[in-house]
Amino acid sequence: MTQRFAPDRPAHIGQPHLRRNALRHLAGRGAYVSDLALPRMVHAAFLRSPMAHGRITALDLDEARAAPGVIAVYSAADLNPMCQGWTGVLSHFAGMTSPAQSILADQEVLWVGHPVAMVIARTRAEAEDACEKILLDIDDLPAVAGFAPALDPDMPAAAEASASNLCFRAELKTEGAAAAFDGAALVVEGEWRFGRHTAVTLEPRAVVADYDPASGQLTVHHGTQTPFQFQDVYARQFGLPDNRVRVISPDVGGSFGMKLHLYHEEMATVAASLKLHRPVRFVADRLESFTSDIHARDHKVKARMALDGQGQVLAMEVLDRTLIGPYSTYPRTSVAEGNQVIRLMGAPYAMPDYHGVLEVLFQNKVQTSQYRAVGHPIAVQVTEALIDLAAEKLGLDPFEMRARNVVADDAYPCASATGYRFEKLSHQESLRRLRALMDYDGLRAEQAALREKGIHRGIGLATFVEITNPGAAFYGVGGARISAQDGAVVRLTPGGEAHCAISVTEQGQGTETIIAQIVADQLGLTPDQVKVVTGDTDATPSGGATWACRGAGIGGETALRAGRKLAEQLCRIAGAILQAAPESLALRGGAVVDAATGAERLALAELARIATYRPDTLPEGTDNSLSVAQHFAPQGYPFGFTNGVQAAWVEVDTETGLVKLLKHWVVEDCGRIINPLLVDEQIRGGVVQGLGAALYEECLYDDAGQLLNGSLADYLVPMAGEMPDILIGHVETPTEDTILGAKGVGEAGTAAAGAAVMNAVNDALRPFGARLCQTPMTPARILAALGIGPTERDETWN
């Protein structure tokens, strides 16, 4: 049995250490890709399709090529032959199909914003000047924009290369599903619509590609979460050895899943640098972000739940339809979200049977793919709305309803009806904590008193299960070259400090801080003595990096094991110097100590000095290595599931449809907490992204596939004035799969915040018999539910 934590060691794991790298940002010394200026660097701009679907009938670049400051102007004919196409399908999604993608639109444009031509100029302004001089003619083709056309068998496919608009269909069914509904005492049902939204990172996508033909080296400064994935993509697509491709991801101004997909503009930028032999920069502007960053959600769900007379959930039946883009995103696909939707339904509950169907449909809008909490908000919102509906029918309190149905804390390990295996979750304890944290009974009394005065407040609850620490089952088994492992090199510097180069990356979550805490604990140092390097494929071992809440759980475990390996090596060297058995030594307080007495035997600085400068004094045959490398891939459970419960307290102005968020609570169990300060802030940030989707954010399109709100003035993100304070509580159930015991937390907030708020709004509206089933819950939709103003045109289910 591996020792978990030495009891006498001053543990930094679990402490609220501050982020040292935050100080740079506070001084204005952040270093983002969009800040980078390299010698001879030139700037890219793209001419994009203004139509959702069409055929290019004329493209004349001559005038643009002659414009001031222009270095080059490229069309598909120039760039597309430079690389292989890429197709976003994975073999474990059986039967899925997608057209191949290439760099620029060739003959057919597929969405508003599809890049058609690329201009390279001395400045971005000059590149945009030249874009105005390109003559582009496009003949309209029918645009698939919405569920009705996507489901219409007579409608042409969104892309001519597709046989139909069905990208993927999947079905999950337990044997008893139909019988459960036949024998149910109560069946509740509904239909929900989830608007399309997008990540809106404050720093848009940014890339500087720099090819040096003399060394054959391609360096790509790329604001991404996953540098090694892009090293692999660029190497394979452009036929370069991967060790000649260096991807550097310095400070990244927000990512949230959006920056790990392959985009046409980044590929074009690399291609241009390969052609021009000089650095080429592309930084998306905000309009380009809205029309080329991946979008997410865009689901419509029809679901019902069967219950027995005591309110015990027997089964769910779910049809999830989702509209993606004209093709499936590479390399993670656009079906992973729907796949998670149908598998996470009912996850917190002891539900024996299930029948779920997923249909993924093509349309002529920008691609959808993974964005924070992939699929979770949809599954949670549908499940929790059905639970509330059932509670209402049965006259049960929503807390009681959930308490009756969650999987008991002592019933683990267990499996869900959708096929997930859970190691150990804590729904019951989380519900108990939440009830106390929010003073549920007091709030109910307050709600009743205010209702008398015509003030309509509501309480909404939402339990959830979150997928973290994915193994290779997630993508690797389907053939994706997405690493499920991570790697670290930890070394003792000649001065006796530590250095850790690790493949997980930092976008402000605090990755570097927690890695320093973990390594410090293994080496008997303070976190400040551990320098952590991330985000550079030349500087760290390869690994999957930061996505799907794997940084702490998998990256952290990698660092822990690397740190232990180095500690053992240092004890061996010290043992040789001190003529002591390595097992009798330990590292504490910056020194090698006697493990039994704690008495200092040798300062680490002295050890490092000897091993570095006077290895000749070591006994013959002593390995003087001060560096170790360690890789780690999760084994055991395919995913590290976490759980929690959220509550929202809202006030609805029933005359205006405006919702005021009064307070929000989260109780969450992410396993071992490495840094409570950072964990809480991950949760808060996640909650607010969930609240954005619930109340504000929606990419609006017309029937022709035109985006109607491509700016931050019209696409509403959550701002400080409208957001609530968020109280957080924790349950800590470490995973037994790793020494560290940590799971992920980055998506927990987003997973259930929207569900809690929708339940709260519906709770507030209960006296009116009104119910919301669509996000975002805009004033117009809330008023429509109250019978004021028109309801939106409903698209049929066909």
Binding site: G30, L202, E681, G685, M723
Partner: protein, 157 residues
Amino acid sequence: MKQALELQVNGEAVALMVEPRQTLADVLRDSLRLTGTHLGCEMGVCGACLVLLDGKPVHGCLTLAVQAQGCAVTTVEGLDASGEIADLQAEFHARNALQCGYCTPGMLMTAQALLKRGAVPDRAEIREALSGNFCRCTGYEAIVDAIAATAAKRGAA
């Protein structure tokens, strides 16, 4: 056609040639390499590009550089170097009121302008003052906490 522009940036006299179409944010970032001023929307909605123009926060993306002729501009680098926001920076750090850091310079500009008004703002006033500063990472609460803590300490001093 480039024009001559003279202004004070972070207390230093600067003279350079700019195109009329260049915004103050572009000139600060591209010509003077003061990259602490960020661009998030380039239409005055996100607050990432706020700088002090003659002491007041303005959007660097909405101000043409040529309009700053003869003015004093302070960027986050200047506020940092002068030490005048050291307490605010320390509270942001202690409260982890930033993640990716891209909104942070703009947040500091707004916060410092609010704090300099003198009265100790309550949480609602702080949230209202931040209404033009978008942060995608934190959910704002930590930022409000940090500003409130600074306000309380300055108010007590």
